[in-house]
C-alpha cells in the first residue's frame, strides 16, 4: 500500500510523465515571452512523435532525434511566416497547425505509407521493425552515486537522457531569459515591441528565433512522449498534451524554473490516474483527476488577471498581437 516505496515510484512516474509537458512548455514559454501565442503546439508535438516513430525504426534513436528537431525547426519557422511576417491572427494560425499536425501524423504513420518511408530511409530495415506499432525506448541511464541517494535517487536520477536534458534545459533557459542581454531583448519584444524596436532590437528576428526554439522543443516533446515515455503508436496519441503544456506555461507564470514544479504536478496527475484505481480508490476518480490541470489553469489565469498580481507576474503585455513597424 502507501509507503515510501510507493511514493517514490509515483514521484519517479511524475518525473517521466511531466517531462513531456516540461520540454514543450519551455518552448512555448519563449514564444510567448517574445509575444507569439503558439496554439499549434499540439500539432508540432504529434508530428514529433510520428517522425520519432518512423526514424527510430529505420535508423535508430540518434537519427530520430536529429530529424525531429529539424522538422520542429521547419514547423516553428513556418508558423512565424504566417504569424509574424504575414501578421495573421495567431489563434487561427495555431489551430490550423494543430489540425495539420494531426492530419500529417496520422497519414505518415498509416501502415502502407509508413512502410514506404521506412524502406526509403533504410532498405535494410528488418520486416519486424517495418510492421510494428512500437519502437525501442530510449535506454535508462542511472547516474552513478546520485542514484543511490534514498528516495531522491530513484525519483530524479534513474531516467533516460531526455529527462536529464529537460531539467538542465530549464535552468539554462531561465538563465538566458533573465540574466542575459539576449533574454532581455526577447522579453522586451513580448512586453513592448515598439519600444524594443526603437532601442534597436529586431522584433521580427527575435520572434522568428523564439518560434524556431518553440517548434524544435515542441517536436522534441512529442519525440520524448513516444521513445521516452510510451513507445506504442496510437493515432492522435498526444491527446491534448500540447494544450496542457500551454496551461503549464500559465501555471508557471512564464518562468522556466517554476515550470519544473508545474511539470511535476501535471505529471503526478497523469501518473496517479493509473495508480489510484490499483489501490481501489473510487474508480471514477481518474476523470476528475484529469480535469484538474485545466481547472487549475483557469483559476490561475483568473488570479493573474487581477490588477495587483498582473503587474508582477502577468502575461507578456503584447502576447498575441502581431507587430507592425510604423
Amino acid at each position: 500500500m502507501i509507503d515510501v516505496g510507493w511514493i517514490s515510484s509515483v514521484l519517479a512516474g511524475a518525473v517521466s510523465a511531466g517531462t513531456v509537458f516540461l520540454i514543450a512548455s519551455l518552448g512555448e514559454m519563449y514564444a510567448e515571452r517574445a509575444g507569439v501565442l503558439n496554439l499549434g503546439m499540439e500539432g508540432m508535438m504529434i508530428i514529433g512523435a510520428a517522425v520519432a516513430f518512423i526514424f527510430t525504426n529505420a535508423l535508430g534513436h540518434g537519427a530520430a532525434l536529429l530529424a525531429v528537431v529539424l522538422i520542429g525547426l521547419v514547423l516553428g519557422v513556418s508558423h512565424a511566416v504566417f504569424s509574424v511576417s504575414l501578421k495573421l491572427n495567431q489563434v487561427v494560425v495555431g489551430l490550423a497547425f494543430t489540425i495539420l499536425g494531426l492530419g500529417v501524423s496520422g497519414l505518415i504513420t498509416a501502415a502502407e505509407i509508413r512502410k514506404r518511408f521506412i524502406l526509403a530511409l533504410n532498405p535494410e530495415t528488418p520486416e519486424r521493425l517495418v510492421i510494428t506499432q512500437e519502437a525501442a525506448k530510449l535506454p535508462v541511464i542511472p547516474i552513478p552515486v546520485l542514484k543511490d541517494i534514498p528516495v531522491i535517487g530513484p525519483v530524479f536520477f534513474n531516467h533516460n537522457v531526455l529527462v536529464y536534458f529537460a531539467f538542465t534545459l530549464s535552468v539554462v533557459m531561465w538563465f538566458v531569459l533573465f540574466r542575459t542581454r539576449f533574454g532581455l531583448s526577447l522579453r522586451s519584444c513580448g512586453e513592448n515591441p515598439s519600444m524594443a524596436d526603437s532601442l534597436g532590437v529586431n522584433v521580427y528576428r527575435m520572434r522568428y528565433i523564439s518560434m524556431a526554439i518553440c517548434g524544435m522543443l515542441g517536436s522534441l516533446a512529442g519525440a520524448y512522449l513516444f521513445i521516452g515515455y510510451q513507445p506504442f503508436w496510437v493515432e492522435g496519441m498526444t491527446a491534448g498534451r500540447g494544450f496542457i503544456s500551454l496551461a503549464l506555461v500559465i501555471l508557471a507564470t512564464w518562468s522556466p524554473l517554476r515550470a519544473i514544479l508545474g511539470a511535476l504536478l501535471f505529471g503526478g496527475v497523469e501518473t496517479l490516474q493509473f495508480r489510484l484505481p490499483l489501490l481501489g480508490v473510487a474508480a471514477q476518480l481518474p476523470q476528475f483527476l484529469l480535469m484538474l490541470p485545466y481547472i487549475v489553469t483557469i483559476i490561475t489565469l483568473t488570479l493573474l488577471s487581477l490588477e495587483s498580481v498582473r503587474k508582477r507576474v502577468g502575461a507578456p503585455a503584447a502576447l498575441g498581437i502581431p507587430y507592425t513597424r510604423e
Binding site: 502502407e112 500559465i250 481547472i295
Partner: protein, 353 residues
C-alpha cells in the same frame, strides 16, 4: 525591386469573393500535392469527394454530418463578430449532448417528463447547457478581464472528461454488455422519427437559425451593439453600450447553438451518447465560420462541404485504406489557405522599383 505592403481601406465584395475562391482552389491543389508526396493518388481521393457531392444518398448524409458543425459555426459567427474568441465550441457541443441525454434518461429511468415533451425539453436543455458553458468564460472576461482564448480551450477537455465520467459511471447502459455507452434513444427522442431522416428536420432548422442570426446582427439594436463591440471596444464603451450584458447575451446564444449541434449528434446521428462522440467538430466549426467570412448564410453551404468531407473520409477509409487523417489534411490546408487569403484581403502587395 522590392515588395511593399499597403493596407486596403475597403474591399469590394467581388474582389473578396474571388480571392476566397482562388485560395480554396489553391487549397485543393496544395492538399493534392501533400497526398502525392505521401504516395497517395490525389486523383482517386478527389474523385471520392466528387462522388460524395454528386450522389443524392451521400449528399444527404453530407448535409446531416455537417449539421452539428453547422450549428456550432453559426454560433461562432456571432461570437467572433463580438471579437469573443470562443475556441470552446467542442466543449459546448459535449455539454449539449450531455443535457439532451440527461433529459432522455430522466424520462426513461424515472418517467419525469411526458413523452411528447421529451424532444422539446431536449432542445431547450441542450441550448441552455451549451450557452451557460460558453457564458462562463464570457463572465470571467466581462468581470475580471480574463482573456477567453485559453479558458474556452481548457473547458473543452473538462467537458469531455465529465461526459466520460457519466458514460463510464452512472449513465452506462445496464444492458450494454459493459460497454461505455448510454441506452439507445427511444423513437420519440430521435430527430429521424418525424420525416424519416434527421437532415429533413435539422437543415430547415439551421436555415431558420441563420435567418434569425442574420436578422439579429443586421436589424436589431442588440446586434448592432455586438458588432460595434467587436470592431472597436473603446468606441462601444464611449457610446454607452453595456459591454458585459451584451457579451453575456451573445455568448449564451453562441454556446447554445453549439449545444444544439450536440443534440443533433446524439439525437440525429448516433442515437445514444458515447465517449468521443464529437471528434473535434467544434474545431472544424471554427474553420467553417472563417470560410464563410462570419456570414450566417454562407456558414450553411460551408458546413455541408465539411460534412461531405467527413463522409468522403469514411469512403476513403474503407476503399483506399487510408486513416481519417486524410480528411484532416484537407481541412487544415483549406484553413491555412483561407487565412492566407485573409492576408491578401487586408493588404495590397505592390512591387516597388
Amino acid at each position: 525591386m522590392a515588395l511593399r505592403l499597403e493596407r486596403r481601406l475597403e474591399i469590394s465584395r467581388k474582389l473578396s469573393a474571388s480571392i476566397s475562391a482562388f485560395f480554396i482552389i489553391l487549397a485543393i491543389i496544395a492538399a493534392s500535392l501533400v497526398f502525392e508526396l505521401l504516395g497517395v493518388s490525389s486523383v482517386e481521393t478527389l474523385s471520392k469527394i466528387y462522388y460524395v457531392f454528386t450522389t443524392p444518398a451521400t449528399l444527404l448524409q453530407a448535409v446531416l454530418r455537417g449539421l452539428p458543425m453547422g450549428f456550432a459555426a453559426l454560433g461562432l459567427c456571432l461570437a467572433f463578430k463580438m471579437n469573443f474568441w470562443n475556441i470552446g465550441a467542442d466543449g459546448q457541443i459535449y455539454m449539449g449532448m450531455m443535457a439532451a441525454t440527461g433529459i432522455v434518461l430522466m424520462h426513461a429511468y424515472y418517467g419525469l417528463i411526458p413523452e411528447p415533451l421529451v424532444l422539446p425539453a431536449m432542445v431547450a436543455a441542450s441550448f441552455i447547457a451549451g450557452g451557460v458553458y460558453c457564458a462562463l468564460p464570457a463572465f470571467l472576461k466581462a468581470r475580471l478581464g480574463v482573456n477567453e482564448i485559453l479558458p474556452t480551450l481548457m473547458l473543452n477537455y473538462v467537458a469531455m472528461r465529465f461526459v466520460d465520467f457519466l458514460i463510464y459511471g452512472p449513465w452506462r447502459d445496464p444492458k450494454g454488455f459493459g460497454f461505455p455507452v448510454s441506452i439507445v434513444f427511444p423513437d420519440y427522442a430521435r430527430l429521424d422519427s418525424f420525416l424519416g431522416h434527421s437532415a429533413y428536420v435539422g437543415f430547415p432548422g439551421a436555415i431558420a437559425v441563420a435567418a434569425v442570426l442574420y436578422g439579429l446582427l443586421q436589424k436589431t439594436t442588440l446586434g448592432f451593439e455586438m458588432r460595434v463591440m467587436g470592431q472597436n471596444i473603446e468606441a462601444a464603451r464611449y457610446a454607452g453600450i453595456r459591454l458585459g450584458r451584451t457579451l453575456l447575451t451573445g455568448s449564451l446564444v453562441a454556446g447554445g447553438l453549439a449545444g444544439i449541434g450536440g443534440l443533433v449528434i446524439v439525437s440525429g446521428i448516433i442515437g445514444r451518447l458515447r465517449p468521443g462522440a464529437s471528434p473535434g467538430y467544434g474545431y472544424t466549426a471554427i474553420i467553417i465560420a472563417f470560410l464563410s467570412g462570419l456570414n450566417p448564410w454562407l456558414a450553411l453551404p460551408a458546413s455541408v462541404f465539411f460534412g461531405g468531407l467527413l463522409v468522403a473520409g469514411d469512403v476513403i477509409q474503407s476503399t483506399l485504406n487510408l486513416p481519417f487523417a486524410a480528411v484532416q489534411i484537407f481541412q487544415a490546408t483549406i484553413f491555412l489557405m483561407i487565412i492566407l487569403g485573409e492576408f491578401f484581403k487586408r493588404y495590397r502587395v505592390k512591387v516597388v522599383r
